[in-house]
Symmetry: C2
DNA sequence: TCATTTATAATAGTAATACTATCAAAAAAG
DNA sequence: CTTTTTTGATAGTATTACTATTATAAATGA
């Protein structure tokens, strides 16, 4: 991912497009740093304003509230993973290998050294996604926000991966459920490894992403393969 | 579960034991109703006070803040599931059948018609757990709260189920990861079925718990069985 | 039973959060 | 170089998340 790419979202969770201005980009890049440092509940627009040498009021011109900013960050992340999965799998003919590669991207999305967008630190963003992303849809407003298209990016990726599952075995009956479970588990297991280690065999030392990938690979392929293959 | 049982927690996330007084019990039973109705972010002690004809200040004598109240509710839920799993599986000799039964309890914990504790509506509590439980450990305070023992109940259940996995196949290398994934997925898939249906094949119509159970049963047993059996 | 401890209700108050409004200055666009 | 747009500075409001105080009510215990 050496050349610069552009990730655009399928919805407008913002008031003003943050990538269109200098201030907007600073809001994004510093909010990533600050949410990671403080945790989402302790993060406020006032603190962010102080951090970037601007004011609360100016930030409110870009995002209605901090929840919508989180939606933006998480949606951006899923759009980026979707792009990366597509890019990394497009010339792989074998369905099993393709799904394997996709799982690798999914579990190693936090390892990227070569950021594709200058003002977004993907490694820190990944930590935010692991720790906070479930909050974007665990709200009373989930149905209204779903209608607004706020979750299109994760749905698109889920569907793409589910199709890869079906390419391996068209008879597997729960491709989307399997993938959404894996997408959540990829983050959860890393979080558990770090904070609640007795809930997982994954160790936070060494290469937790690698171990998570192995666990998920085995989980997915045994589920897919234990259904007798039937072509469409 | 006809006779009354007593669920006690392994930690003190409260200031005063709520089950020891009339007010304490009203705090628990009405907070369950109110969190379900408003969602956790819109829920406040002031609103709860109004609901139960008491005051904010009185509630603060039982719980330091609303987060600790949620910890209490979710811990109670896991302790109750743990109790139910133990009760429902203790005379089943066959390891596979035992794990099956446990998975059934896990996915159908919201179906209980015959509440074991008078002031706790387990069906509503289950909805709260499905929608809000991940928030109890997704905070900056997770490590400190873990030290205080706030997550002992879920860890105990996870370990119990992991042992059931090992009883089926002692060679399976990720029993805790598998179970923690399943515990989370049981709730997530129900939530997705209701709010983000394109992420799952589970339908919210009819019997989503039954479908979730089938999905998880297949997922777990294919993972466990695809490792060659080796006895300890 | 009465004295004493303890729990609750009522009220008030503070600091922080989550915003909204106004207006002038600066920057960008035409 | 004028007009529009964006930002910064400031102020202000309602709500949240508490803490403190005191009077009363209830429970306890000698």
């Amino acid at each position: 991912m050496a050349t610069s790419i552009h990730i655009s979202l399928d919805h407008k969770c913002y008031l003003r497009e943050p990538e269109s201005t200098e201030l907007g980009k600073r809001i994004i890049s510093e909010s990533i740093r600050l949410i990671d440092a403080l945790g989402f509940e302790h993060f406020t627009f006032k603190k962010l304003g102080a951090e970037i040498g601007s004011t609360e009021a100016s930030i409110y011109r870009y995002f209605e509230n901090k929840h919508k900013l989180l939606v933006y960050l998480v949606s951006w992340y899923w759009a980026w993973v979707d792009y990366t999965v597509t890019f990394q799998t497009h010339n792989i003919a074998d369905p099993r290998e393709r799904l394997c590669r996709a799982l690798e991207v999914l579990t190693k999305a936090g390892q990227d050294d070569d950021p594709s967008v200058a003002y977004i630190d993907e490694r820190i963003l990944y930590r935010i996604v692991v720790a906070e992303s479930s909050k974007v849809y665990h709200t009373k407003e989930v149905d209204a926000e779903n209608k607004e298209g706020y979750f299109l990016e994760i749905k698109r990726l889920c569907h793409r991966l589910a199709e890869m599952v079906l390419a391996v075995n068209p008879a597997y009956p729960y491709p989307h459920a399997l993938i959404s479970t894996a997408m959540e588990a990829a983050h959860q297991q890393l979080y558990f490894a770090k904070h609640l280690p007795s809930l997982t065999e994954i160790k936070d030392t060494q290469h937790p992403e690698e171990e998570t990938k192995d666990f998920l690979k085995h989980l997915l392929f045994s589920a897919i393969d234990s259904i007798q293959y039937k072509s469409k």
